[in-house]
Subunit: 340 residues, 2 copies
């Protein structure tokens, strides 16, 4: 499996990407195509172990977090992000991983790999830990403004993902909202609720509040990218705050400091469950190819896990499953439309 | 201080409200006017301690969580919520507390107590715990759809609240967003960012991600009610999930189970910091009077704390401070507008 990695994406690029690539190559059987400034990458790679499984693909430009995605994609034709996506397009790589400007990755992927027919927007999906194991939520930031129809597309893609990758039969699909009642949310949420309720092929369980999500009462949770991104970041921030608070309180007395020593392994296991770098990145659903998006603040472990995740995702051929699934769902719609 | 309490609002009404009212009266010097079905309230009160400081005000109707606020306010003229607000309007009570339908409380308060001049929407404000003490965030659910101008009103009200109630000079005001860059967010966030940056009287520090909020890097965080409500509920849900996860892991070995016993007091202190029932409810800012909103799932301790909070809030005359402050800010705007 050959994974193209945008080496110029993360906050600490290319050091993080290089370290992550080497780590993934040492442990796994994949080859990494590191896309970025050849000289910098070569210097960073040096003769470190795993070097032989990493190949550099030169790109003269890089898209930054401050760049406007639309402008950057037009003006920086040789950006690492676009070069990497083209490797996938041309069959020189099997999947693409980037921790760069999310909007640019999303738009670039649609431009280079093309959208799946019937899906008007792509969505970033990711599983988060809940009391019933990891559950899927999408979109996590690809689209800040969504129409009801687009959110319904996300529901369908999320359902297909949960079936194939999470192995759930008839996944329960919910709509993230501020209350369970029909009347809650903006006009968009109310319209999505109606549409999903009417959709025969979707096991729609209604509105989902964050509490229900974390109890694992639903397999796929749908929201727009602004709200999804806020949920993701609030979860991380609130979790980190609670962990910090516990540390402060445990340090405040002798008894609890000693007690905490007996709990260190347990705390370490908790950290592993909630650490976003333990997860294999977030797939961009809705394009013809495997694209994995990472947070800009990821570390080398996060990059290595995303490379492994990209290999697994590509092996599952999720994009083909989604393409077929969407086509079937649309065919049913047209049929029942004709019958009406 | 006489506090009017909507006795028919919470998920477990009126039992929770009655227990909370008695608790507040036993410990404090306030009188509670319990508004709701006289017979049920009398039965619930019985001869419990504190009974003498509670007075029942009869209301024949109640607005439920499923009711449409607009319709309910029109059709249920004798709802406990409206009767309670009228007590404040007529000077028979000093402040109003409700755990009922948030939309109905907000709209009812505006209809009965009237909006503060210059503020087009009211907002629910609340402090959440951060690494630097409690920080204010608004709106938490009064308005699901907001214009840029309305969010700027929230920024001004939040600033005035932080000055008077939190005692912060020149509070740092931030806009909740999915990134620090100017270009982040929807059209509304981008417009608010521009407006707040241009506002001379506001100490605007830019976009705020949830991580920055929880580190306490900002005193007042502004967002629309949909996003704010999601942040509040995600914080609670993620915090509860992490606490559950820690409990599971601590129970998994003997060493950690024993260690945890030494940490019980520390864990209890943590729980107190994050328990929403330890806080004194959320004030509705932007109306001429003190209105405190509680979550429907609150318990008796939460109600008692909200009653005490209502007394403190009313004593601070925050609504007068906001009225004066907004008038001054508007005057400056008009002046500089004339000068241009």
């Amino acid at each position: 499996m050959r994974i193209a990695l945008d080496a110029m994406g993360s906050d600490n690029a290319p050091a993080t990407e290089v370290a992550g690539a080497l780590r993934a190559c040492r442990d796994g059987d994949c080859e990494v195509l590191l896309v970025g400034d050849e000289q910098r990458l070569d210097a960073e790679l040096g003769n470190k172990p795993g070097r032989d499984k990493v190949r550099i693909v030169h790109a003269t430009q890089a898209i930054t977090m401050d760049d406007s995605p639309t402008l950057a994609l037009r003006q920086k034709k040789d950006a690492s992000l676009l070069v990497g996506l083209r490797l996938v397009k041309n069959g020189e790589a099997d999947a693409f991983v980037s921790a760069g400007n999310t909007g640019a990755v999303m738009m670039g992927a649609r431009a280079v790999l093309r959208p799946i027919q019937g899906v008007s927007r792509s969505a970033i999906a990711q599983t988060l830990p809940t009391r019933q194991g990891r559950k899927l939520i999408l979109d996590l930031g690809a689209n800040v403004d969504c129409t009801a129809a687009q959110l319904c597309d996300f529901a369908e893609m999320g359902m297909l993902y949960a079936e194939l990758i999470l192995g759930i039969e008839r996944p329960r699909v919910g709509l993230l909202n501020i209350g369970e009642e029909l009347t809650k949310g903006t006009e968009v949420e109310r319209a999505v609720h109606q549409k999903l309720r009417a959709a025969e092929n979707i096991n729609f369980v209604g509105n989902v509040e964050p509490r229900m999500f974390y109890r694992g009462e639903v397999d796929v949770t749908v929201c727009d990218g602004f709200v999804g991104n806020i949920v993701l970041k609030t979860s991380e921030a609130a979790g980190q705050y609670v962990a910090w608070l516990i540390r402060q309180e445990l340090k405040s007395t002798w008894a609890s400091t000693i007690g905490a020593l007996f709990c260190l392994r347990a705390f370490k296991r908790v950290r592993r469950v909630v650490d976003p770098n333990e997860v294999s990145g977030a797939p961009l659903l809705g394009v013809n190819g495997t694209v994995i998006i990472l947070h800009g603040s990821c570390n080398a472990k996060g990059v290595a896990n995303a490379i492994r995740g990209a290999a697994l995702t590509e092996r599952s051929r999720i994009h083909e499953h989604i393409r077929r699934g969407i086509a079937e769902l649309r065919a049913v719609k047209v049929e029942s439309g004709n019958g009406a």
